[in-house]
Amino acid sequence: MSFISLLWVLLLGSLLGLELIGKVPPTLHTPLMSGANAISGITMLAALTLIVKAEGNLALLIIGSVSLGFALFNVVGGFFVTDRMLAMFSRKPSNKK
């Protein structure tokens, strides 16, 4: 990929992000924050790339592995905790009846 097209990707991605969230009810601020936070753990892909391309360089393998651990901690924890919060909202309609 040329640098210019990567810049386009950056620009369009940012615009998409700005558009995605218009009105958010306050109820959802916390879950939305923690869900978006889990997505930012997408750096796990960069960590994976690092490990795969390390070519036997032990230091690089370790850095990549630690980085992967941090990212997955973010991703897995983030999604689980968001799900836990949202589960409480969706449980209610069934309680009512």
Partner: protein, 479 residues
């Protein structure tokens, strides 16, 4: 193009689409849970896409697999355990911790690439390309480090492990932070100039900058800061995307970065604070101790739990105003028992939720939902405000600034203009509170002085427990 490239391209495209739908869905109550799962699915899809690409092209060595598996298992395991175990009341600091780790991950990737250039991607670089490479590495380190240390400080402050040091409220902090910022810039340009040893300087000063900026910020503003740091971690991820040449990373990072900014803005509005004053103003209480708002209470009425129970028993309509104090006392379940009794007696009970009630916007909804409060009983401020004049009793539980009439009446008050709940319009207001201490803002609450307000002093949970006992004695809620 060969097959692995095409497959990866399609998977990446699909993942981006699903992630965007996920973020979109998360902003609606109905679709939120499915959207979260969709986003999680998209993330796993992207991993599969990347791994299958490498398997189809360069291959993955056994050694790489081992390190991938070690990192994945440890990270996922700790993440899952923490997510399951953490109590709902500590949600804000948990999000901060996760966020910091995301920043750390971007930081480490950039460090790794900077110290040991990845062979295949850095061969035959012309000047322009290597410049871009240096810039993206530097940005990734800079933003990643700020995100990490900032989030950790935010978490420590929310946990109560760190208090706000005095010097951070004086002008000194601006000087200190400017020094860190300038040092970061110098290291940044030095690094781009090819002096690779300054990478450590960049790591250190940007970490210090993250600490220096977050440390002075007061507890009430912390949610905004966490949201902003969340946006930063998206930017860090996008920068890491430039480092390893991944469009998917750039798109996802940019989306989170931009969405995080919007969310930060929305939160600021709800709290009547501007982002600039949150970041550079220090904690609100420090500004206001000298200005208006301080003052003596002249007309405090305190009453016993028994009186409170008697008034509640005679009421037709009761509105509960839960706040931070309730969250701290973890009294949401006890509160639910009280309201159950009242409901059994045919008393209409509604919860008035201020947009920033609790420790984070939306936090109170989560806490009450945990205590099985029906969703229909949770009313947002704009909906519930016209109801107060027709309400017999308002119970204020651990809320303070959000029920301060100063915000409407006193244009000299720092709270002036903040949307508040008009509880003083109700016939009787009971404020359950530990003592006369001020709220987050450190400002005197005029509500406490009003003739229709009575204070019930005590820990929220204990008062509510006593209330249950008194109501039982009165025969309320027993059929």
């Amino acid at each position: 193009m060969n097959l692995p490239v095409i497959i990866k391209f399609v998977i990446d495209l699909l993942a981006v689409l699903l992630l965007a739908l996920g973020i979109k869905g998360l902003s609606k109550v109905k679709s939120a849970r499915d959207a979260n799962r969709l986003a999680a699915f998209a993330m796993s899809l992207s991993v599969v896409g990347l791994l299958s690409y490498y398997l189809g092209t360069s291959g993955i060595t056994i050694q790489s697999w081992i390190w991938i598996i070690i990192g994945s298992i440890i990270g996922s395991l700790f993440g899952a355990i923490l997510a399951k175990k953490v109590p709902m009341t500590s949600m804000p600091e948990t999000v901060a911790l996760f966020n910091g780790c995301g920043g750390m991950s971007s930081l480490l990737v950039a460090l790794g690439v900077a110290i040991f250039p990845i062979s295949s991607s850095l061969e035959n670089l012309d000047f322009f390309k290597s410049l871009i490479n240096e810039v993206s590495i530097s940005v990734s380190i800079f933003v990643g480090a700020i995100t990490f240390t900032g989030s950790i400080v935010a978490m420590a402050k929310l946990q109560g492990w760190l208090s706000t040091p005095g010097w951070t409220q004086s002008k000194v902090r601006h000087f200190v932070n400017i020094v860190f910022a300038v040092a970061s810039l110098i290291a940044f340009f030095d690094l781009i100039n090819g002096n690779s040893s300054s990478i450590w300087l960049l790591v250190i000063v940007s970490s210090l900058l993250g600490i220096g900026v977050t440390l002075p910020i007061g507890g009430a503003d912390m949610p905004v800061v966490i949201s902003l740091l969340n946006s930063y971690s998206g930017i860090a991820a996008a920068a890491a995307g430039f480092v390893v040449d991944s469009q998917l990373l750039i798109v996802a990072g940019a989306m989170v970065g931009a969405a995080g900014l919007i969310l930060t803005q929305v939160m600021c509005k709800g709290m009547n604070r501007s982002l600039v004053s949150v970041l550079f103003g220090g904690s609100l209480s420090a500004q206001t101790t000298t200005s208006s708002g301080s003052g003596e209470y002249t007309n405090i009425t305190s009453c016993s739990v028994e009186e409170c129970a008697l008034t509640l028993e005679a009421a037709n309509k009761v509105i509960i105003v839960p706040g931070y104090g309730l969250a701290v006392a973890q009294a949401q379940h006890t509160l639910r028992e009280v309201t159950k009794k009242l409901e059994q007696n045919g008393i209409e009970v509604v919860y008035a939720i201020h947009p920033v009630a609790g420790r984070m916007p939306g936090h109170m909804n989560v806490l009450l939902a945990e205590a099985d409060v029906p969703y229909e009983q949770l009313k947002e401020m704009d909906v519930v405000n016209p109801d107060f004049p027709a309400t017999d009793v308002v119970l204020v539980l651990g809320a303070n600034d959000v029920v301060n009439p100063q915000a409407k009446n006193d244009s000299s008050s720092p709270l002036y203009g903040m949307p508040v709940l008009d509880v003083q319009e109700a016939r009787t207001v009971f404020v359950i509170k530990r003592g006369m201490s001020a709220g987050y803002s450190g400002i005197k609450n005029d509500l406490f002085d009003l003739p229709n307000t009575s204070m019930v002093f005590g820990d929220a949970k204990k008062v509510l427990n006593d209330l249950i006992g008194e109501l039982k004695d009165l025969g309320v809620g027993e059929k």
